[in-house]
């Protein structure tokens, strides 16, 4: 178990200094470190690795003290026996793949180094690349080499800072499978920083949400990311609609409460939360969770049906982003096929359909 409890303040030219103040425990297995950019995720990993010094607090792995400000202990990174895969990967450009992988084995006999390199290269499917230079590798190959170079040292903690950014999802899945297999055999705390929801869902046993240098929430991915508790986290978790709202009334019998959106422009029903009537809150709704109809829908279970005007249509890659003014302004994502079938065009009168449980209370 990796336990941290640290505080680090950064001097800045701006009015407010950035403060990282994090307390968390990381059990063996994957923990996703999630949060908007600038939340302090990389700084936290740097502190755990010993590349940056916290101002106060402590970091320990079981009984082993990595850092203890009160007792003036700080193990240098060389002695923390952990592995860290940087976002930039930091492969040594002048060394071959084999030399890169062997770099962390300097203390072993040469024959053991060769053996270790061979077996990890096989496990990560890079045995044919050993004589190449990093500049001659593709993105996915580089990421595999960086993982192999880190894992060969038999670390007691593994820090991964967005190691799979920029890969297509098939490649990402295949690397994640190799990593999961390695984890099943070794069971150490793995801290995995990512922005990618797909990665969170496929590896996350737990999520720690970091916002503005503070741990805001810890829990299962669905609990943390599907019901974000802060505006920053809602944005980072991919909620396109985060609307200001005021609680109007509680209906405990139905398990819901009514809120008015955007200065009483419209009212919707959301799951009952612990905000009293009259409280200012925010409601987060994914753009993909909103349905669009061109006629007033009837006989639906969805409780929120809002008439409105389609203001704009914008095609982004494989999907279409609509902006609809239905009291408040909503972002709605639909497929290009839906735009054709409904013959959507700006100015059209539409109805938005939102399930109660697609609406999340945010403080």
């Amino acid at each position: 178990m990796l336990n941290i409890h640290i505080r680090k303040q950064f001097r800045s030219n701006g009015a407010q200094p950035f403060i990282l103040e994090a307390a968390a425990s990381f059990a063996p297995g994957f923990t996703v470190l999630f949060g908007p950019s600038g939340a302090g995720k990389s700084t936290l990993l740097d502190c755990i690795a010993g590349l940056q010094q916290p101002d106060s607090g402590e970091i320990r792995l079981g009984e082993r003290i990595y850092f203890d400000a009160a007792r003036k202990i700080s193990l240098p990174p060389q002695r923390r026996e952990l592995a860290y895969v940087f976002q930039s990967l930091a492969l040594f450009p002048h060394l071959s793949v084999e030399q890169n992988i062997r770099y962390g084995l300097a203390k072993l006999r040469s024959s053991d180094q060769v053996e270790g390199t061979q077996s990890i290269a096989t496990a990560f499917h890079i045995e044919k690349l050993l004589s190449r230079r990093p500049a001659e590798l593709s993105g996915g190959e580089k990421q595999r080499v960086a993982l192999a170079r880190s894992l060969i040292t038999r670390p007691r903690v593994l820090l991964l800072d967005e190691p799979l950014t920029g890969l297509d999802s098939a490649l990402r899945r295949s690397i994640l499978e190799d990593l999961r297999a390695w984890n099943n055999a070794n069971r150490i705390p793995i801290l995995y920083v990512t922005h990618n929801r797909e990665e969170v869902d496929s590896i996350g046993e737990r999520v720690v949400a970091l916002v503005n240098g503070r741990v805001q929430e810890t829990g299962a991915p669905r609990a943390v990311l599907d019901a974000p508790r802060s505006v920053e986290l809602a944005h980072a978790a991919g909620f396109e609609n985060v609307l200001p709202a005021v609680v109007v009334e509680h209906r405990p019998a139905d398990g819901v409460m009514r809120v008015s959106l955007d200065h009483a422009a419209c009212e919707i029903e959301i799951p009952l939360g612990d905000a009293a009537p009259g409280t200012e809150v925010r409601v987060a709704i994914r753009a993909g969770d909103i349905l669009v109809a061109t006629e007033a829908p009837h006989f639906l279970s969805a409780r929120n049906i809002l008439p409105g005007t389609l203001e704009s249509i914008e095609t982004r890659g494989g999907m279409v982003a609509l902006r609809v003014k239905a009291g408040a302004t909503f972002q709605v994502h639909v497929t290009p096929g839906a735009v054709r079938a409904l013959d959507l065009s700006p100015g059209l009168l539409v109805w938005l359909v939102i399930k109660t449980h697609s609406c999340h209370l945010v403080r």
Binding site: D46, L51, P76, Q78, F86, P93, Y103, A106, K107, A135
Partner: protein, 224 residues
């Protein structure tokens, strides 16, 4: 052409660039990697010879090396002869004079290294010495070459400091640039011209090497 003066200059330049590299390495390492707040003071001291007139530098060097100067006294007690107006004195003064030409290229090449490579090396268990030998040295070698070549070329052409500290003793302290000055004073323009042209050529070749190497070297390991 005065071969004796030319050989002396080459010997001086080679000696100075060798010792300077040894001295500049830890200095540059400190300037590039330390987070010490008073670093700018050290940077200013190192850059001082760039803006100081050589005669000023030579003057203070002469006073320090003189029989009553601190350096001169230590030297006298160690070796039993004075330091001023000797080859060793010339080497010391020239090192001071060429210091920024050795330190600055090294600092620049250290600072241009990707810090994450050094972090990666540390996390993989390498101590500072190993990181230096395996990562910094191979990636920053154009900086080393530039430092070596520039301090060599700069020492080869110096005049003011040599005149102040070394005087004009044939075979001991009379370097090419002083020789040229002597020839011009004696109105022997032909001889002055020969030596001057040679110095000009050497400087040009040396600079071409520096620029050529720096242009080419950064590319082969980085993504094409």
């Amino acid at each position: 052409m005065n071969a004796e003066a030319l050989l002396l200059s080459l010997r001086l330049a080679a000696t100075v660039s060798f010792f300077l590299l040894v001295l500049a390495l830890p200095l540059a390492y400190g300037l590039a990697f330390s987070t010490w707040r008073g670093k700018f003071l050290l940077e200013s001291v190192v850059a001082l010879p760039l803006v100081l007139p050589p005669t000023v530098l030579g003057f203070y060097a002469l006073i320090a090396m003189g029989p009553r100067g601190p350096l001169g006294k230590i030297w006298q007690s160690l070796f039993g002869h004075p330091l001023a107006f000797t080859f060793a004195g010339l080497v010391l003064a020239s090192m001071l004079y060429s210091l920024p030409f050795a330190v600055q290229p090294l600092v620049a090449s250290f600072e241009s290294l990707d810090r994450r490579l050094l972090d990666a090396s540390a996390v993989l268990g390498a101590d500072r010495a190993r990181t230096f030998l395996r990562i910094i040295l191979p990636l920053a070698w154009p900086g080393f070459l530039t430092a070596l070549v520039l301090s060599f070329a700069h020492t080869l052409g110096e005049f003011g400091v040599v005149l102040m500290v070394g005087g004009n003793l044939p075979g001991i302290t009379r370097t090419v640039s002083i020789d040229i000055y002597d020839r011009v004073q004696a109105l022997d323009y032909a001889a002055a011209h020969q030596t001057a042209l040679l110095l000009l050529l050497i400087s040009f070749v040396v600079l071409s090497i520096v620029y050529g190497v720096n242009r080419r070297v950064w590319s082969p390991w980085l993504a094409k």
